[in-house]
Symmetry: C2
Subunit: 336 residues, 2 copies
Amino acid sequence: MPATQEDVARLAGVSRKTVSNVVNGFPHISKDVATRVAAAIIELGYTPNHAARSLRTGRTGTIQLVVPELEVSYFAELAQWVVAAAEERGLSVLIRQTRGDRERERLALEGSNGDATDGTILSPVSSDLAAIVSRKSTAPVVLVGEVAGDGMLPHIGIDNEAAAYAATEHLTRSGRRRVGFIGAQRDQMSHMARMRRNGYERALRDAGLDVDEGLVRYTDGYHRREGAAGLRDLASTGLDAAFCATDLLALGAIRAARDLGIDVPTDLAIVGIDGLDEGAYSVPRLSTVAPDKKAIATRAVERLLQAIDAQTGTGDSPDWSEEVVGFELVQRESTS
Amino acid sequence: MPATQEDVARLAGVSRKTVSNVVNGFPHISKDVATRVAAAIIELGYTPNHAARSLRTGRTGTIQLVVPELEVSYFAELAQWVVAAAEERGLSVLIRQTRGDRERERLALEGSNGDATDGTILSPVSSDLAAIVSRKSTAPVVLVGEVAGDGMLPHIGIDNEAAAYAATEHLTRSGRRRVGFIGAQRDQMSHMARMRRNGYERALRDAGLDVDEGLVRYTDGYHRREGAAGLRDLASTGLDAAFCATDLLALGAIRAARDLGIDVPTDLAIVGIDGLDEGAYSVPRLSTVAPDKKAIATRAVERLLQAIDAQTGTGDSPDWSEEVVGFELVQRESTS
DNA sequence: TTGTAAGCGTTATCAA
DNA sequence: TTGATAACGCTTACAA
């Protein structure tokens, strides 16, 4: 049976509340009492009871990170940064996977686990903004995924249109004329997918090239397998470059090109978005647009915390504005 | 202000306890009362308060997964399975990263977050078994990482010696004579590293080959970068095959070989352990020994749950035995 | 089958 | 600067 504040108080010869004050670093405590209590705490190996504390305070010190799947490296890398940023602020991170499933996204938001967390960092795939905004749970949400916040919810991300533009322009600048796009989404939910496609098309037009729907391939998700399938399907169109919506698609495309005897980058240049570590070691190394994932994670945690504090009464009122972080075009071997 | 059982009880015209019974699916409830309560719950949008419940029951419904870092794909894939297995059993998963740091591993075990979780699935790197066993926290622990349980703690994993043997034998069978090993650990903490090295050496001897320390390269961790460095370092020894302790090391090695103009697999065969999806799309595709990660995750969750139940009084007494799950040698292009 | 009373360990309020 | 008392929302006896 673990020790309670009661036990500590008895041993130190003070009241329960005094122990609470010491534990929480309350300002006005006499040196004497403080040391006596500290000694008792160590002697008994006292640890505050988490459940009791959060029942009383209404805060759990835990936030939720809801992503489609950790197996997709982008989310693993993002999760890594979120966990690190949360740790620095004394928060724990509970991870939930949705596999892009709308019902799972809803459940995660509604707190299927009761109110075990103080707030959510959500990377939605199939929920529209309305569904997220109209959730019942009052715990704050910060978006980091495909859906934009539109002033109703905070959203942290890169300028997807600009990122796609930079990637595509990189291809056209090197003289590529028939630039395919792998990873278009049929589903119109994804703001990100729309923006990436817009950037691709605008870059083509700015380069004086026609936008050709025949060079576009749709995928359900963003796995290597789908990238490979997309490229196989596109190979007969005689394209000389492919912009892939994500690095994983691009890595799948590289593999498929190789299998078809298409040399990358000589016959076909390939570029992705995500800046995965994997792309720095692939054969050939993958050119990519690398979002500042650390900034996305850190700012998401900070803004969530801000929203939580604001709700509790502490802290300034949060704003729901879009927040844009930087990206960097990383030129490697897959684009000559 | 969210609704409480009290509110529901008032609306339904019953007592608080009755609401509790309905919520928890208690057997003996009259149809009439049940529907009245259910209606009230929906009308008020009642959700059980997690903190209050766990204060009362002493259980949180959350387990901890402690890994070195999610960026290492093996752990991302493992985490994916753990989260999935936990979800099926109604548990949430809190993820903590240690970066292999001993102090962080200790903190995670001692429940730096109070007793916010019911138990821990730990993949230790720098803690020895004694440190883990002698922790103060009473929450159960299941090991899935490098340290073995030695009958003092449950451990789920593959037979590392056999896995390494299978990988190395695969190389010698195809006629390779100078087989290097990348990923040896100076630190003697890691049972896994020791076993993998043993398997490597035994396979060499069984193939009538000498064990040559000059063909062994040590790494601090298991990143692609270190695999690349290991191979560059080994290249001058004229090896014709490399067994890498993990897939990430192997993928780094493939990249380095390419940079050195060494053809894989013609000049150099490479094999790893982990069965990462990445290896199915690399150029060349990576031969690997694939542990049954789903089984590791599922069994770890099940045994942790069993230990938790046993502690609470429910359930049989758990056993601390080693549990071995299967692996599969996957032959791909990196070994001809 | 349902209700009553008590208490889980903490912090907030207010008085001393 | 410290202490007594009262919640926080729930479940576990036990009684009705």
